[in-house]
């Protein structure tokens, strides 16, 4: 019994000791090595609320005391069977080193919850601004180094067009966990001299590719500064990247193009700069706990109940906020609290951009509407949120405190009608007023299998085209017949010749008819007038056409026989007419074939 009391008393004292832990303060800089004139952040982290900070003076270092960024986070840690509440408050200051060398920031006096504590001293290595301290920086060395390789002061040498523009691309780390924020800084420096004009053609808006990352909107700032004794306007573009996949990723190359000129009417010089891509190695997260939210970063978690005294049926709101540098899309809503005697809606999400000591971050809020259905006390259990801290390389679970809502009965208690979807049915207390779906179809019409796409579509497409092509060819030929007499006569000569030959036997003067048929054929073929054509004319035409001697002889014999019959007073017998007609048919066919062959060649 006594041992049990001692154990309980010890546990209570231990808990009190944990809650009232000695105030401590630590100071950090976001980079141990910084460049002259390059801003960096000094962070002071305490385990309680900061009342006052006395900033020290360090030679060669400027600390901007104005409006430091502040953040506060609470979390519960579980270990050794105990639960420990940890409060972390951070204040961030913007600093600039003004001289090269080693600078020691002396201990900073911080008042934490009424107690004065001191941070440890911080050692800083300051190097020339041109060399740059970043772990990953790519730059167009030709320009940037030429411009910046000498300390500020009087101009060292004659400027060239190469000195007019420089580009830099820089990330704060190259090996990260999946989802861990990476600060990408791009700098475009342009020389500002009287009479010198530099115009960007392409590049200022065309930022490097960030495929594989969730990238925040770029924030631009123009800074006037001096390099190598010359004034430059530096456009600083900052983005936070969150790698979405593991493995080797890359921040793409950056290309800038512009035109420079001296004076209004001076000649123009084409300028272009490139910075190479930066490789990023993305490590997978360690095995995840079951309740991991997906968020990666240094986050703070807060839960707030807007009203803890409400009337039955009147909703109140529980707001859970997560704040820090993290991919907002990766933050899933904490588990909806289950409250006996109340209906809790799914959360409404809201996201705003905020400043954190490490840089621009987000605050994502989830608002749960809690509608008390019964009078009395409603108890909301602590809401927990698990995330991965890439700095400490561990999963952390932050939890809210428990809430109690006092619910007073409404005047018209009894059945409360709420119009909502997905509401749990509580018989006697809540009736869901809904609407019903329309009834099914009773008569579907003609049900049949769907037809598969066959050859109908190509047939539909092809038929009119084929028909049109046929018609077009026909019309073209017809028009040629109308316009080209020679073609028409040539085309029809054989048919007309044979037709005439078929009428020879029935004619009163067969020899005359046969003569007309043969000379008509030749006249049609050669497009000459048929009237008055003699056997000599026909022979001449055939010789000109290159007909062989046998064929010419065949024609001549037929025509001469006809001439003899016509003009010599001799009548042709039926057999002679038949033989001549047959011979005429043959020579017509032969000549037609010969002429077609000749055209074909």
């Amino acid at each position: 019994m006594v041992v049990g009391r001692i154990t309980i008393a010890g546990a209570v004292m231990l808990a009190v000791a944990q809650a009232w832990a000695e105030p401590t303060a630590k100071a950090f800089v976001d980079r141990q090595t910084v460049g002259v004139g390059v801003p960096f952040a000094l962070r002071i982290e305490t385990n309680g609320d900061i009342d006052q900070v006395k900033l020290p003076e360090a030679p060669g270092l400027e600390i901007d005391p104005r409006s430091p960024s502040r953040s506060r986070r609470e979390q519960w840690q579980f270990g050794g069977g105990r639960r420990t509440r940890i409060v972390t408050v951070e204040a961030g200051y913007r600093c600039v080193a003004r001289q090269e060398g080693r600078i020691t920031i002396p201990p900073i006096e911080v008042t934490v919850a009424g107690t004065v504590v001191h941070t440890q001293p911080v050692l800083l290595n300051v190097i020339g601004s041109g060399r740059g301290p970043s772990p990953a920086r790519t730059t167009n060395t030709r320009q940037a180094q030429a411009v910046r390789n000498a300390p500020d002061g009087a101009p060292q040498r004659q400027l060239t067009w190469d000195d007019t523009v420089f580009l830099e691309s820089e990330v704060d780390k190259q090996e990260v966990y999946q989802g861990e924020p990476i600060a990408l800084t791009l700098r475009l420096g342009e020389l500002r001299l009287r009479g010198l004009s530099i115009k960007t053609v392409r590049g200022a808006e065309n930022l490097p590719s960030t495929e594989g990352f969730y990238a925040t909107s770029p924030v631009k700032e123009a800074v006037a500064t001096q390099y190598n004794g010359y004034p430059y306007e530096v456009t600083v573009i900052q983005q936070t990247l969150y790698p979405m996949a593991t493995g080797a990723l890359q921040v793409g190359a950056w290309h800038w193009e512009g035109v420079g000129s001296e004076g209004v009417f001076g000649p123009q010089h084409a300028l272009s700069e490139d910075v190479p891509p930066i490789d990023i190695t993305v490590k997978p997260l360690p095995p995840r706990p079951a309740d991991f939210s997906g968020a990666v970063g240094r986050l703070s978690f807060r839960a707030e109940l807007l009203s803890d005294r409400v009337i039955q049926g009147v909703p109140t709101t529980l707001v859970v906020s997560i704040r820090g540098r993290t991919n907002p899309d990766a933050i899933a809503a904490p588990k909806t609290p289950e409250i006996d005697g109340a209906f809790v809606s799914d959360p409404d999400k809201q996201m705003i951009e905020v400043d954190t000591p490490e840089g621009p971050g987000v605050e994502k809020s989830f608002s749960y509407t809690i509608t008390p259905l019964e009078a009395g006390e409603l108890h909301i259990l602590p809401i927990s949120f698990c995330y991965f801290d890439p700095v400490e390389e561990t999963y952390k679970t932050a939890s809210s405190q428990a809430f109690v809502i006092q619910v007073t009965p409404s005047v018209d208690s009894g059945t409360r009608v709420l119009v909502t979807a997905g509401m749990p049915s509580t018989p006697g207390a809540v009736a869901v007023l809904g609407e019903d779906i329309l009834p099914p179809c009773a008569a579907p019409g003609d049900l049949r299998r769907a037809r598969t796409a066959g050859a109908s579509t190509p047939a539909v497409l092809a038929t009119p085209v084929i028909a049109y092509c046929g018609l077009a060819l026909f019309m073209r030929r017809r028009r040629r017949f109308e316009r080209d007499i020679a073609f028409a006569r040539d085309h029809r000569a054989k048919a007309i010749g044979h037709k005439r030959l078929r009428g020879v036997a029935r004619a009163d003067a067969p020899a005359q008819e046969l003569y007309k048929a043969v000379t008509g054929f030749i006249a049609d073929k050669f497009n000459v007038a048929p009237g008055g054509m003699t056997s000599s004319d026909a022979e001449r035409l055939l010789v000109e056409a290159g007909a062989d001697s046998n064929l010419i002889e065949g024609f001549r014999r037929i025509l001469r026989a006809c001439e003899r019959a016509q003009y010599g007073g001799t009548q042709l017998s039926e057999d002679e007419v038949g033989a001549l007609t047959s011979a005429a048919g043959n020579v017509i066919d032969t000549l037609d074939a010969l002429l077609k062959k000749g055209r074909g060649r």
Binding site: A332, D436, I437, P440, G445, A450
Partner: protein, 257 residues
């Protein structure tokens, strides 16, 4: 021979109508499971009728499967865009979902160029396009036969109209793949692995477009443009092909919430 084909078709048609009527009777007797089974049987046999999908949607709705109900209403509307009962029931079902996500919109070019075709059936636009195609060539042929005034303008007009209806028919034949979350909670991740970071969650009935599928995962995009990978088993594709909802849903690692 043709008479035999007609008889087979007629008998087939009667069989389908009989199954449909039995499904309606099962629905009216509150036996939604049997109704669903019969409607799915019709679909599996190749019957693609808006009334079948609509009734199937109703049966799924009554059975408490909001994702399958919405998918079937969408199928009915894809086949018959002016099916008002299906539209009303779809709206009702969407109101019953937790997130009430709107349907992803078609691409900008489709909205701009084909704003007029959303109320038309695919078969209608196809037939009109075919008629306009034939008319276009007919006018060209007429012009060959006898050049008349305005034939060139008429051909141009027919070509433009025919092209528009052909584009409409093509767009309807190749719709954006629409899928409906079928599981109660569907985690959407950055990659195709259960260890990938959770991006957001879909709830049963949420409609998304699918632009890639690989290894049992589908890349989905919501109406807001949020994109990520989900298990295919947790989704019901509006189709075609018109597949029944996945019966056993294993969506990998449990969601955060």
């Amino acid at each position: 021979m043709s008479g035999l084909v007609c008889i087979v078709l007629l008998l087939g048609s009667n069989v389908y109508t009989d199954t449909f009527e039995r499904a309606v009777q099962a629905y009216e007797a509150d036996d939604y499971g049997t109704a669903i089974q019969l409607y799915e049987q019709l679909v599996a046999e190749g019957v693609e009728d808006p009334a079948v999908f609509y009734n199937s949607g109703n049966a799924y709705y009554r059975n408490g499967d909001i994702g399958a109900a919405i998918a079937n209403y969408e199928r009915a509307l894809q086949l018959a865009p002016r099916f008002e009962n299906a539209r009303e029931n779809l709206d009702k079902a969407v109101r019953d979902t937790q997130q009430r996500l709107s349907k992803p919109l078609p691409s900008v070019w489709e909205q701009s160029l084909l704003f007029w075709h959303y109320g038309m059936k695919r078969s209608t636009t196809y037939r009109i396009a075919a008629v306009l195609w034939c008319l276009f060539w007919g006018v060209l042929a007429l012009r060959q036969w006898r050049p008349l005034r305005y034939t060139r303008r008429a051909a141009l007009l027919l070509a433009v109209l025919g092209g528009a209806f052909a584009a409409s028919a093509w767009a309807k034949a190749h719709p954006v793949t629409l899928a409906v979350a079928h599981a109660e909670s569907v985690p959407v991740r950055y990659g195709t692995h259960d260890d990938e970071t959770l991006r957001f969650e879909l709830r049963a009935g949420d409609r998304v477009t699918v632009d890639r599928r690989q290894g049992g995962w589908a890349r989905v995009t919501t109406v807001d443009g949020e994109r990520g990978w989900v298990h295919e088993d947790a989704m019901m594709f509006v189709g075609p092909p018109y597949l029944p909802p996945p019966s056993a849903v294993d969506v990998g690692e449990e969601a955060v919430e």
